[in-house]
């Protein structure tokens, strides 16, 4: 089995990648951040729709998200591209998590062109400084893996999700952390997860997080069935949100539930967690990565190219047809369980090993393609 290796960060966390992240603090800095990242070897950037307007009630949530994303241990250093002094609190929050961060304020450079010229030089220096980090043997207790599904079909709950559950159980038993998410897709499965909680408090939170979501949907006066299952889920043979949920929860195997965390909140001790995220593939992936996941394992029935700018996303198909059809987008095929080439157990073991190989440096399909979808979770409208 692959030995787990990573980059030991000064704050005690471990990265499995060593990225230089060029992060825009606000929408108006998107273009400058993109241009800097394009010009510097090894730099990655994301763009987003957070304008940072005064008095926005989502400011705290967004700050936690951007801070957590920048502080993910896969990031060796951050060039935060801001507008002016108003972006200093975000830079301080990122630094407060023990991350190396440099704030580039566009207002000090006359705009985008000047900021890019200055930023490329700073980014090159940061890239050089993080290139000195070397991999060393990493304890499994320092690894956190997100468990995600997107574009589910009727086979999700039969092949890829339970196989990922077996991998998750092995990781948790060995002392690692795994995180299930997408609360809307746990509707109907909350009692099953709560029954596995390590104490009554966690059990109550597990049920509450699903019920709070259901109440928020009722308050909107909408029917969740308008969005869940999605058109693709239905084409793939799923009929109800409960059916989708029971399959989705299989990703978490049978390990005890150690805790329920808020969106983008890092867990404190290893174990299996549920993070309170929406079902939206990218919002939840950003939440998981902002919560410290260094790797995301992502099952898909309909097929998706999804990836994160800073965390390898290992994609596992539920059926062989989509694996073959979307060549180069999906890493592993759990459809082999249906043909008898693999058992659930052997596939679970393969996924487990692949997660460790990816953590040790093997690139995923989404990394080869440079996928870097990003989305900011909002809750106030």
């Amino acid at each position: 089995m692959t030995e787990l290796t990573g980059y030991r960060r000064a704050n005690g966390t471990w990265g499995v990648r060593n990225h230089l992240l060029v992060l825009p603090a606000r929408t108006a800095a998107n273009r400058a951040a993109e241009e800097i990242a394009d010009a510097v070897e090894g730099a990655v950037s994301v763009t987003h729709e957070w304008e940072g307007l005064p008095g926005d009630p989502d400011a705290g949530l967004v700050a936690r998200t951007l801070t957590g994303f920048a502080a993910n241990p896969n990031v060796g250093a951050v060039l935060l591209v801001g507008i002016d002094d108003g972006d200093r609190p975000l830079a301080r929050a990122i630094a407060g998590r023990g991350q190396t961060v440099h704030l580039l304020a566009m207002a000090e450079h006359g705009g985008t062109a000047g900021a890019v010229a200055a930023g490329v030089g700073i980014a090159e220096r940061l890239a050089t400084s993080i290139a000195g980090w070397e991999r060393e043997p990493m304890p499994l207790s320092a690894l956190a893996v997100g468990l995600e599904c997107g574009g589910s079909d009727a086979l999700s709950g039969i092949t890829a999700n339970p196989a990922l559950g077996i991998a998750s159980d092995r990781l948790v038993a060995a002392g690692a952390t795994t995180m299930l998410s997408e609360v809307p897709e746990l509707v109907g499965a909350e009692e099953i997860l709560a029954a596995r909680a390590i104490n009554d408090d966690v059990a109550r939170r597990m049920v509450a997080v699903v019920h709070d979501f259901e109440r928020s949907v009722e308050a909107l006066g909408v029917d969740i069935r308008g969005a869940q299952p999605t058109p693709g889920n239905i084409d793939g043979g799923l009929t109800t949100i409960e059916e989708k949920s029971l399959g989705a929860a299989k990703k978490a195997g049978n390990a005890p539930l150690t805790g329920v965390v808020d969106f983008a909140e890092p867990p404190t001790i290893p174990g299996l967690y549920v993070m309170d995220t929406p079902g939206h593939d990218i919002e939840q992936m950003v939440g998981l990565v902002a919560g410290g996941c260094q790797v995301v394992a992502f099952t898909t029935g309909r097929g998706t190219p999804t990836g994160s700018a800073i965390a390898p996303c290992l994609k596992i198909s539920t059926n062989t047809a989509i694996f073959e059809r979307m060549e180069g987008d999906i890493d592993l095929d759990a459809g082999a369980i249906l043909t008898g080439e693999e058992t659930l157990q052997s596939m679970g073991d393969r996924i487990h090993d692949a997660i460790l190989e990816v953590a040790a440096g093997a690139p995923t399909c989404s990394e080869r393609r440079g996928n870097r979808e990003f989305a900011i979770r909002r809750t106030h409208y």
């Binding site: 507008i83 809307p184 909408v222 998706t304």
Partner: protein, 265 residues
């Protein structure tokens, strides 16, 4: 001044092929297509797990951007399983009188094939658009969007025979640019105050006016004008209509921010 006459009778002052992702999951494929074919694209984080009015509004915003008269043709890039179904989106854009091609990542069989199909579609549209001559732009075909009310400026623009559309209330400037593009504005005038950095939009030139001297001084390269008089703004709009790139176009800013009506599911 010349423009591009569209099949519905409106005129564009730019002649973009827009690569439009129907969902966040296809934004990287859309970006690759645009980069490799010289088209414009938007990046957004939406398209899946919307409910109720928010779903209709989001679809409307994407259609509005795609049918702006500066856009000569659209390549919709879909994943396939998303809530805002790419095929339906493409059909609705076509029903609105726009040239449109559809590329689905799941339908084509993966990112690589989708990108190749998208590049081909852009190239075909580009050839078609480039073959059409520019025509004189009638004043009454000009629509200018204002992202903040300004009566004097409005009167001066209208005195030229141009239509002026205002941003809906309650939107941020970036959100209002989506609405103004959807209302058919060929040029957006963005009036920026204290603490407000200039923005751009993928399919419309944005004339950014820095009315706060400190902000203008700090970010002058990204503004088109500082504390300018009404006549100066009108003259800059006229130059922009005639094809002179704005600061937002020069730096390639395409700040798509969608006003949402409900939380993502």
């Amino acid at each position: 001044m010349t423009g591009r006459r569209r099949p519905d009778g409106r005129y564009g002052v730019r002649d973009h092929v827009l690569v439009l992702p129907s969902v966040v999951c296809s934004t990287n494929a859309a970006e690759t297509i645009a980069r490799e074919s010289g088209a414009v694209h938007i990046t957004h984080q939406h398209g899946c797990l919307h409910v109720g009015d928010d779903l209709r509004h989001t679809e409307g915003a994407l259609i509005g951007t795609a049918t702006n008269p500066n856009v000569g043709a659209v390549v919709v890039v879909s994943l396939g399983c998303e809530t805002i179904q790419g095929r339906r989106l493409a059909r609705r854009i076509e029903d609105a009188g726009q040239r449109v091609a559809f590329v689905g990542i799941q339908a084509e069989g993966g990112t690589e094939r989708a990108v190749a199909a998208g590049r081909d579609a852009v190239a075909e549209f580009r050839e078609l658009l480039d073959a059409a001559p520019a025509e004189p732009l009638p004043d009454d075909a000009v629509v200018v969007g204002l992202d903040r009310p300004d009566d004097a400026l409005r009167a001066a623009l209208e005195a030229r025979g141009w239509q002026v559309v205002d941003a809906p209330e309650g939107l941020s400037a970036a959100e209002s640019h989506v609405a103004l593009a959807g209302a058919g504005a060929q040029v957006i005038v963005s009036l920026r105050g204290a603490g407000e950095a200039p923005l751009g939009f993928a399919v419309c030139p944005v004339v950014a006016v820095g009315r706060d001297p400190a902000m203008y001084a700090a970010l002058h390269d990204d503004f088109d004008l500082g504390e300018a008089g009404v006549d100066e703004v009108v003259a800059r709009v006229e130059a922009t209509l005639a094809g002179e790139p704005t600061a937002s176009e020069r730096r390639g800013a395409r700040d798509f921010v969608l006003h949402r009506l409900a939380v993502t599911m």
